[in-house]
């Protein structure tokens, strides 16, 4: 019972509530951060406090510096952090804007009229929590605990997840799975018995050849990867970029393959054809570790470079040349798994092709290919068992997507719309830090689901579109004003990082941990929140791994030595992969069992009709998702998105640079706002391109309201991945309009 004693000791030291009890407890909670005795404790002046960034998911660890008046001045990277090596990206550096944004949510709100209308009244925290707790209990009683769901992106999800699990639901979903990297995880699991996770285990630092397929590193500032790519450029690595757009990284590549959109699978299978038929593959590796080579060899015979020319518009010579460049570099070659890979609905299969190509080149487990990551392990305080849910979102989906290893945000959303097939109608949502209106494709569907709910509670720092649909809005303080659970990262060297408040929360905002615990208190679930303050829990966890809150406040990041030096396979090492056959499955027995193609097949996808162009969207380095568009510092760098149009297309439509146009998609959806045309050779004539995350419709965000277009609004055709339920979003076509008047 060592752990229990440890807990008691800490409680008696710092949880003032336990000493004063009853009446004072609430008053104490109201001023949680301010009066917390462990806030700013330690022998340091706290001119700088440690944090890890919350602007994107890379979670770089850094230091928040304050000026002589105690105001946040700047945020810079922590030199000891393997995720960032002391260098933040523009979003991280601009994190100060999140704190300074005067448009922030300031106090709890309760809706007074129908959903979607911005009619709220200010409420006290108690009132907001009572409201939520009563509704959760009512839904649980009337529909069962499985009709409760959580959508989360970011640190707060953990705490609300505990409330949900405590009530008896495991419908906990994050758009980062079904809308982003899910297909990749399932594909690599099916092939290697191991997913990629985050940060990716790509050994870019030491690679000799980096192949990027629609993965625009540098525009997506996945910090550690971009840094390593820069190192690789210094060392003379060959970069091969496959993209219909001349992306930033295309401009840094030895080979740019301007592929016809939606034909990437054809290229991948053809590369395999060349590599196998020219005997460029790693024979020893394939023989020792792989299963199903003969079937693969036979399968890819049909995919010749000459065939691929007609499909991809890439010259056969270019395909052969790049296949040889990969083989020359092997095994120090990375066919990059990408990140946002939900494109055409056959994404798991496309990522399977990527995984197989890497296996043929022998790059998995090799220096300059994919290293074996290690994740730090920090013990959690033992909680009582959660009640077992009798059903979940998967049941609601009628047994589909058995291979999805996480809940689908889109699936949970669908399961909220009553239908005869769904046995698990979801009635209440808690939404933490994810602007679902601009995150889930098919907005009409999301809105329909929302109108069916008995409760929607939104926790956010900003008045995003989703908060307009909330019954209750809980204003969270920014990451610079709160503690959060430790960042426990995987990497070459595992690491842990601390986030602590640099300043007191502005306005009447609070940390998500406190909110979740207050709700738990009202639902009689405090057993799942044994620590009054999150920092006590963190301190307990840190002591289990031989450090302490005090030490981490001083150093911010702790690297943990690997237990074994097994970054790469030993020569001829026997490896058992976590697949059915114990081998790297070129032929997937798991997919075959579920009735899917065991080896990826090329399928032609629909193309735009005359006058329509494929809508391609992507990232800008200074913005993340749809959550940074109002950040004063980042908006200063880029305040609206533009529509990239090829000069030939511009001529046909008589479009000029900087002219504003509306877009209409194939389903007749017209954009609410207009977008500035950017005539550029950097995009194919059959496509247009815009950066995701603009066209905000909530007037309370003064800087970004109505600036640019929301791509999500125009994504109504969703090509669902039959294997894991990912939402393919690249099958939408748009045409130009000069007004947005709806036809009568």
């Amino acid at each position: 019972m060592n752990s229990r004693r440890q807990f008691l000791k800490i409680s008696s030291l710092s949880a003032a509530g336990l000493i004063f009890g009853g009446g004072l407890l609430d008053a104490f909670a109201e001023n949680l951060v301010k009066k917390n005795p462990s806030h700013f404790k330690g022998p340091f002046d706290f001119v700088r406090t440690p944090t890890y960034c919350e602007v994107c998911f890379w979670k770089c660890a850094g230091w928040v510096y304050k000026d002589e008046n105690g105001r946040i001045k700047k945020i810079i990277g922590n030199n000891d952090d393997p995720n960032c090596n002391g260098r933040f990206c523009p979003r991280g550096t601009g994190g100060v804007g999140m704190y300074n944004d005067e448009d922030r949510l300031k106090t709890p709100l309760i809706r007074t009229e129908e959903r979607g209308e911005q009619t709220f009244r200010e409420a006290s925290w108690d009132e907001a929590f009572d409201y939520i707790a009563a509704k959760l209990q009512k839904v649980k009683k009337e529909h069962g605990p499985e009709s409760l769901a959580l959508f989360s992106h970011g640190s707060g999800g953990k705490y609300f997840g505990k409330v949900l699990k405590g009530l008896g639901s495991n419908n906990i979903a994050a758009p980062s799975y079904a809308q982003c990297r899910g297909p990749r995880e399932v594909a690599f699991l099916a092939t290697y018995g191991q997913g990629i996770n985050s940060p990716e285990n790509t050994d870019i630092r030491d690679t000799k050849c980096l192949v990027l397929i629609g993965s625009h590193l540098g525009e997506n500032m996945h910090n550690g990867q971009v840094q390593e790519m820069s190192d690789a450029i210094d060392k003379g690595a060959t970069i091969i970029t496959v993209d219909p757009r001349f992306s930033t990284v295309a401009s840094k590549s030895k080979f740019w393959l301007p592929i016809k959109p939606s034909t990437d699978m054809a290229l991948l299978l053809t590369w395999m054809n060349v590599i196998i038929n020219e005997e460029l593959y790693d024979k020893k590796y394939v023989e020792k570790y792989c299963y199903g080579f003969d079937q693969l060899k036979e399968h890819v015979q049909q995919y010749t470079p000459e065939w691929a020319y007609g499909v991809t518009t890439l010259k056969p010579q270019q395909i052969r040349e790049t296949a040889r460049a990969m083989a020359d570099a092997a095994p120090a070659v990375i066919v990059h798994p990408g990140r946002h890979v939900t494109w055409y609905g056959d994404d798991t299969q496309r990522l399977r092709a990527v995984a197989i190509l890497n296996a043929l080149l022998g790059s998995w487990g090799r220096r300059g290919g994919y290293y074996n990551p290690e994740k730090a392990s920090v013990p959690h305080f033992k909680l009582p068992d959660f009640p077992k849910p009798s059903k979940n979102w998967r049941d609601a989906m009628g047994g589909k997507y058995e291979l999805a290893d996480l809940a689908l945000a889109s699936g949970v959303c669908d399961a909220s719309i009553p239908s005869p097939e769904m046995s698990c109608a979801i009635k209440a949502w808690i939404v933490n830090g994810t602007n679902l209106i601009n995150t889930l494709p098919n907005q009409a569907n999301t809105l329909k689901a929302i109108q069916e709910l008995d409760l929607i509670a939104v926790v956010d720092t900003m008045p995003m579109e989703i908060t307009g649909y909330a019954d209750v809005v809980l204003p969270e303080c920014t990451y610079l004003e709160r503690y959060d659970s430790l960042r426990v990262s995987q990497g070459r060297e595992p690491s842990i990082a601390l986030r602590m408040p640099a300043v007191d929360p502005k306005y009447n905002t609070k940390p998500a941990y406190w909110m979740a615990r207050e709700i738990a208190k009202r639902l009689d679930l405090l057993d799942y929140f044994p620590f009054e303050n999150l920092e006590d829990e963190i301190d307990w966890e840190l002591q289990q791994v031989g450090t302490s809150l005090e030490e981490m406040q001083r150093i911010g990041v702790k690297r943990i030595k690997r237990e074994y030096d097994d970054l790469y396979f030993e020569k001829n090492e026997d490896i058992e992969f976590d697949t059915n056959t114990g081998k790297i499955e070129l032929y997937s027995t798991a997919l075959a069992e579920e009735g899917f193609e065991p080896i990826p097949v090329f399928v032609q996808h629909p193309e735009p009709q005359e006058g329509f162009y494929r809508l391609i969207y992507g990232r800008a380095p200074m913005h993340t998702f749809s959550r940074t568009a109002n950040n004063p510092n980042l908006t200063d760098l880029m305040d609206e998105n533009t529509l990239w149009v090829n000069p030939k297309v511009a001529k046909e439509w008589d479009l000029k640079n900087d002219q504003y146009v509306y877009l209409e998609n194939q389903d007749g959806i017209i954009s609410d706002f207009s977008i500035k045309v950017r005539v550029t050779e950097r995009i194919r004539f059959d496509s247009v391109y815009m950066v995701h995350g603009f066209g905000h419709a909530d007037k309370r965000m003064k800087r970004c309201f109505g600036k640019g277009i929301s791509d999500t609004q125009l994504i109504s055709n969703v090509m669902i991945d039959p294997i894991m339920g990912g939402t393919g979003m690249r099958g939408n076509f748009v045409t130009f309009r000069f007004d947005n008047k709806k036809e009568a």
Partner: protein, 177 residues
Amino acid sequence: MRYAMAIDTKKCVGCSDCVVACQTENDVPIGYCRDWVVEVMDGTYPQLEMEIRSERCNHCENSPCVRCCPTGASHYGEGGIVLVTENKCIGCSACITSCPYDARFVHPKGYVDKCTFCLHRVKKGLQPACVAVCPTKCMYFGDLDDPRSEVSEILKKRKHKTLIPEAGTKPQLYFLI
């Protein structure tokens, strides 16, 4: 001592981190910047080339801004860094007109402002904020008179250019190509 900066256009991804880092380090008001990113495109699809450059004051050896400043507010500081003394500046903007690189602006407080190579950091042995933050490590800063400084070493090794050399200003901002 002659401070200079070299920027590797082959590595810069144009993320503008240098711009935000400069703003927070130097309290540059939102809406203004001391450094910025330029993209130059050439060719037609699909034969394309692009150069990305992080630009700022060139800290010219032969600076028209220093020459034309009526009050002496614009001057050469330590290591040839071109500086503006705030309380001597009358905001006449002669320097802005004379600068071929458009590297100066009128601060809302009324004086002309620009890149200082973060002299306050350099004095402490730190790199300028933009150099320190750059995720691609594409910027090199140091003393050109020291042949072993990082910037001297990289300029010896790599092909490079300066901007608008025909202006005769002898810029100290080099671009590796």
